[in-house]
């Protein structure tokens, strides 16, 4: 692995941002063959969310946090050569609301909302929107003040809004996922929100348990279809979230964190099962990515190039992504500090990095 302080990607190259518990690392892949790494950026800060905001030279956003000084969104317009940090915190709950930002869980370039729109999900669960490419944000008040909020309980990782899905043709429709509260849908651009959890099961052994979705993704070809990895179960909806069916048959476990959907091909998804519930390691110490090409009706394990045994790492929900090349590149990072990449949609894997801090988030972008 080559390392550099400055990346100079060319058209067709892939840039992968890896956020870890102690900083961010950028990887630039020359035609996805030779990757150069730059970093660490923001050494010592946890980087739990990242996004690319469009354009020929995309802006890289990082949701980073100092345990002392708080969390902010920083950005680079030159692939990490320089970074901008806001003078004032740019994700803040309104004064008097009682809310204080703990961490940024997810950043999504809301392209259907506009080329400069960015959405952020945070802990404590709230949705923020930017219209200036991630420099300033405002809270979605109807969701923050939702009458269900008093019943939202934090999961082990906190009360986090971790999933944001914007309908590609109808941007007034959005979905969000909160652990441990459930899924919510809006059809009016965020003015009102209603639950869409029919068919999801709560934890069978915990009386009064609330729903704990982990990661929600939308199908690339059919926006009425979405896929959900939840605490108990893997699901699919074919009716915009009005009901959910189980698609975990064939997987070695109902538990896991990430869910990734193919950027172009409907029905193709990847997940990374872990043994439930307290163990949270690959079943039998054999880490495998599982792919479905039929919307979850059947699954196949993909582990060529991954450890065949004694592999006990975890992949978090934000740490698994795809690029938009054909065939799609797939990338994931582990809490053990490894980063793996596949150029062939998971058929084979190679390690890009081995000794990073625990990986919290991974995103990839193809340079135009």
């Amino acid at each position: 692995m080559n390392s550099a302080t400055k990346l100079s990607p060319h058209a067709g190259d892939v840039v992968v941002t890896v956020g870890t518990a102690k900083g961010a690392f950028l990887f630039c892949g020359n035609q996805r063959h030779d990757f150069t790494m730059s970093g660490p950026h923001f050494l010592g800060l946890s980087v739990s969310a990242t996004a690319f905001v469009g354009g020929a030279k995309p802006r890289i956003l990082l949701g980073n946090k100092s345990e002392h000084w708080g969390a902010t969104v920083s950005w680079s317009d030159d692939f990490g050569a320089t970074w901008n940090e806001p003078a004032e915190g740019n994700i803040k709950f309104p004064v008097g609301s009682g809310g204080t930002l703990n961490s940024i869980w997810t950043l999504e370039a809301g392209t259907a909302l506009g080329p400069d729109a960015v959405l952020a999900g945070v802990d404590p669960a709230a949705l923020f929107r930017s219209d200036d490419r991630g420099e300033t944000f405002r809270v979605n008040e109807p969701l923050f003040n939702h009458p269900d909020r008093p019943r939202w309980n934090p999961g082990f990782g906190g009360l986090c809004l971790h999933s944001i899905v914007v309908h590609p043709q109808n941007p007034k429709r959005m979905y969000i996922g909160v652990s441990s509260a459930g899924l919510y849908r809006t059809d009016d651009g965020g003015e009102t929100w209603s639950t869409c959890v029919n068919g999801l099961r709560v934890h069978p052994d915990v009386p009064g348990a609330t729903l704990c979705p982990h990661k929600l993704r939308i199908d690339a070809e059919n926006p009425s279809r979405m896929y959900l990895q939840s605490h108990p179960g893997t699901y699919r909806t074919d009716n915009e979230g009005r009901s959910w069916i189980s698609i975990e048959g064939g997987l070695p476990s109902e538990f896991g964190f990430p869910m990734v959907a193919h950027p172009r091909r409907g029905g193709t998804i990847w997940t990374f099962p872990l043994t439930a519930d307290a163990f949270r390691v690959p079943p039998n110490g054999q880490p495998k990515v599982w792919r479905s090409r039929d919307g979850g009706a059947s699954w196949e394990p993909l582990n060529r190039g991954l450890p065949e045994s004694d592999g006990y790492f975890t992949v978090l929900r934000e740490a698994f992504c795809a690029d938009t090349l054909d065939p799609a590149g797939i990338y994931f990072g582990t809490r053990g500090g490894q980063v793996y990449a596949s150029n062939d949609e998971g058929e084979s894997w190679r390690m890009l990095a081995e000794f990073l801090p625990p990986v919290l988030c991974v995103k990839a972008a193809v340079i135009q």
Binding site: A21, H68, W69, G70, P86, K92, T100, L101
Partner: protein
């Protein structure tokens, strides 16, 4: 070490505002959005932890020395 003008009877909160006028952004690093001192930050006024002498309402003197200190301890990472 940064010198700011403090008046007798000024509160710690007011001293932070004075500091922020010289160094924009420091307020958000020290206080959360509700104006409370961040959990892992301590402020010492003339050697006393401000949390035990009135918090942000604690009074400073004209020649007080105020330290803004991140907590140092072991942890999970």
């Amino acid at each position: 070490m940064i010198d700011i003008s403090m008046a007798a009877g000024m509160t710690v909160a007011e001293a932070i505002e004075a500091l922020a006028r010289q160094h924009p952004g420091i307020r958000d690093r020290v206080l959360d959005e509700q104006g409370e001192l961040r959990r892992h930050v301590n402020i010492f006024v003339d050697g006393e932890n401000a949390r035990f002498i009135g918090g942000l309402a604690a009074r400073v003197k004209e020649d007080s020395e105020m330290w803004i200190h991140p907590a140092l301890s072991g942890g999970l990472n």
